[in-house]
Amino acid sequence: MSLELEFDDGREVFATEEMTLNMGPQHPSTHGVLRFIIRADGEVMRSAKADVGYLHRSIEKIAEKVGWHGFMPYTDRVDYVAAMTTNQAWAIAAEALGGVTVPRRGEYCRVIAAELGRICSHLLAAGAMGMDIGAITPFTHAVRERELINDLLEELCGARLTFNYMRIGGVAWDLPPGFDAKVLRFLNHFEPYVDELDDLLSNNKIYIERLANVAVVSRERAIAYCLVGPNLRASGVRYDIRKHLPYSVYPEFDFEVPIGTGRHGSVGDCWDRYIVRLDEMRQSARILRQALEGLPEGPVIAKVPRNYKPAAGEVHVHVETPRGDQSWYVVADGTEYPYRVHIRTGSFAAMSIIEELSRGLMVADLVALIASFDIVAPEVDR
C-alpha cells in the first residue's frame, strides 16, 4: 500500500492503493459458477460487482422449442437445489392457460413434495452458511438430514436432485405405499434437529458477531430491489405467496410466516436472513404434518391431452420457492409451443442488490452476504 497524498476537499489524507480482486468464477463460496470483481482497499471492499451468466443455459429460449409437456424437465434445472417448486410453477402456469383443474390428491402430493424440497433447500442453505463462516461441522450435520429427504424423494420419483415429478394436470406418480408413515417418521426425527442446529450454530457467539449488523437491508431497500422470500421477510415484511396470494391447497393449512426481528442486531441483517430460514423449516414441517393427515383419496392427475394446446393468453404466476417468490410470465399463442416464458427468480433479485450492499464490507463479509441470500448461481442465469 503505497502512501499517496490525496487532496480531498482541501484536506490532506493518507490514502492507500486500491486492489482489484477477482473472486470466482471458480471459488468455493460463490455457490456455483459466479464471479465478483472486487475493488478493495486492503480487506475493506469499495465495491463488489457481480458478473453473472457463466451458467446461462437459455432455458427460456428452450421453452419456445420443446412444447408444454416437454419443458417440465428443464424447469428442474432452473433451480436444482429446489426443483420441486420450479416444477410446480411451470405446472401451474400451463394449467392456468389450458384451464386444467388438478385433482385434490394431486395438489396434496405436490404440497408434500414441495415442502420436503423446501426443507431440503433450507438445510443446505443453513449448513453452507455455517461453512462459509468457517464452521465446518453444521454443514455435515445438515447434509446428513438432507440425505434422508433425498431418500424420500428418490422413493417418490426416482431422482434425487432433478425430480421431474410434476406434470401438467397433477403429478406423475402417486405416493408409494407407506410413504406417509416414512415422512412422519422423518418429521419426528427432524423437528428436534432444528433445535440442535440452534445450539450448534445459531447462538454461537462468533457466528452472531460475524453476521449481526452485517449487510443490513432495510424494508424499503428490500422492496425496491424486489427481494423476495426469506430475504424479504428477514427485512420485516410479512409476505409469503403461500399465505397472501395463495395457490394450490395452501389456504387449507395452518402455518405462520416468520419474519426477521433483529434479535442480535438490526432487522434485515445476515443473521436474520439465516434464522428466518430455520424458522421456515419448522413451518414446513407443520404443513407436511397437516398435509399427511388430510391426504384425500382419488386420482393424482387430471386427463390432459398429449398434444397440449392452450388457447392464446398470458399469465403471471407466482410461486413461493425456497428462494422466494418466483415470478413466471408465460404467453401462449394457441400452438403446441409456449410463445414466451420469462422467469424472474429470487436469486436474480438478490444478486442485483449485492453491489450496493458490498460497499464498506470486508471481503469475509461478502462470503457471508452471498450465503445469507442463499444464492444459487444457475437460478440467476437460468
Binding site: D132, I133, A135, D195, D365
Partner: protein, 396 residues
Amino acid sequence: MRAYLDAVAAGYPSTSPALVYLLGMLAFGALVVFVFILPVAGITSWVERRVWARIQSRIGPNRVGPGGFLQWLADGLKNLLKEDVIPAAVDVPMFRLAPYVVVAGFCAAFVALPFAGSLIIADLNIGILYISAITSLVVIGILMAGWSSNNKWSMLGGIRSATQIICYEIPVGLSIFPAVLLSGTLSMQGIVAAQGWAPTSWHMFHSPFAFVAFVMFFVGALAEGNRTPFDLPEADSELVAGFATEYSGMRSLLFFLAEWGNLYVIGVLVSTLFMGGWQVPHFTDNAVVLTVAQFATMFLKAYFWVFVAMWVRATLPRVRVDQFMTLCWKYMVPIGLVNVIGAATVMVLLPDGSIVLRLIMVTVAVAILVQFARRVLFHLHRADYGRLGRIGEGAA
C-alpha cells in the same frame, strides 16, 4: 550430546573436530526429524481427521492400517510422488524456498522442547525466548509463499498470517511472563523444575493472574498457529487455502506438516509453562522407567491440548479480521499487562505462594470443568431424545 561428540572426535584424531561436530549435529537433527517430528505431525493429521469425523458424524479415513492409522504414511508417500507444479508466473526461487523456511522454523523450535527430565536436545538458557524468536521464521516463510505465488488471494493470506503472528506475539509474550516470573528462569527445564507433579503446584493455579495467563496463552497460541477460530490466513471459504493455494505435492504438504507439528509444539508449551510439564511423582529410582513415565506424561498432556485444538476447530466458526484485531489489542494486550503486574504483586505479597490460594484456584477450575461437562451432557441428552427416543416409536 556434546560429550558424546567430543568422544567421537577423540576417536578420529586425524579428522577435524569441526567436521565431526557438523556431521554429528546433522545426523542427530535428521534422527529427531524422522523419528519424532514427522510421525507426530503425520499422526496428528490422522487423529485430526478422525476426531473431526466423529464430531461431524462421519467415519473418516479407516482403510490404511488398523483404523486407518497408517493413512498419514500413505498420504505422505502420495504427496512425495506427486508432480510438483510450479505455475508460470511465480517467483521461482522464492516459491521453492518458502516451504522449507516454514518447516525449518517449526523444526528449530523442537531444539528447546523438553520431552522428559533428561530428554531435551538443548536446554538453552533462553529456552522460551528462543522458541518465540525462532518461530518467526514461519512468518517469513509464509510471507514468501504468499508473495511469490503471484496471486492476490495468496498474498492476502500471507499478509493476514503475518499480521496475525506479529500481533499475537505480544499477548502471548505477556502471558508467558507470569510463568517466567514464577520460575525465575527462561530455561524450559528450569520452568518445569519450578513446578511439581501435583496440580496444586502447577503454575496455572498459582494465582488468578496465572490462570488468566494460561487461558490467554492457549488462545494466543491458537492464533499464532493459524488454527480455527483464527485460521484467517487459510480461510477456505474466502481465500481458498490462502498462501498455500498455488502449492501442490510435497511442498503443499510441508505447510500442513508445519501446521500439525505446530499443534504439538503449542501443547508442549502450554503444559511446560503452566501444567508442570513432564513432572511425575518420584515413584522409582530406575532412571529409565522414570524417563519413560515423564515422557508419557509430557506427551499426554501435550496431546490433550492438541485434541482441544481439534475440537475447537471442528466446532467454532471463524472470526473476521477486524474482530480478530479487536480481540488482540483491545482485550488481550491490556489484560496481559494487568496480568503481569498482578502476578508480580502476588509474588511479592506471598513470596512462597499460598496453598490456600492454590486450592481455591483448583476448585474453581474443577467447577468450570463440571459446569462445562453438564452443558455438553444436556445437549447430548436432548439430541438423543430427538434422535433415538422418538424415532424408536416409529410412525405415529
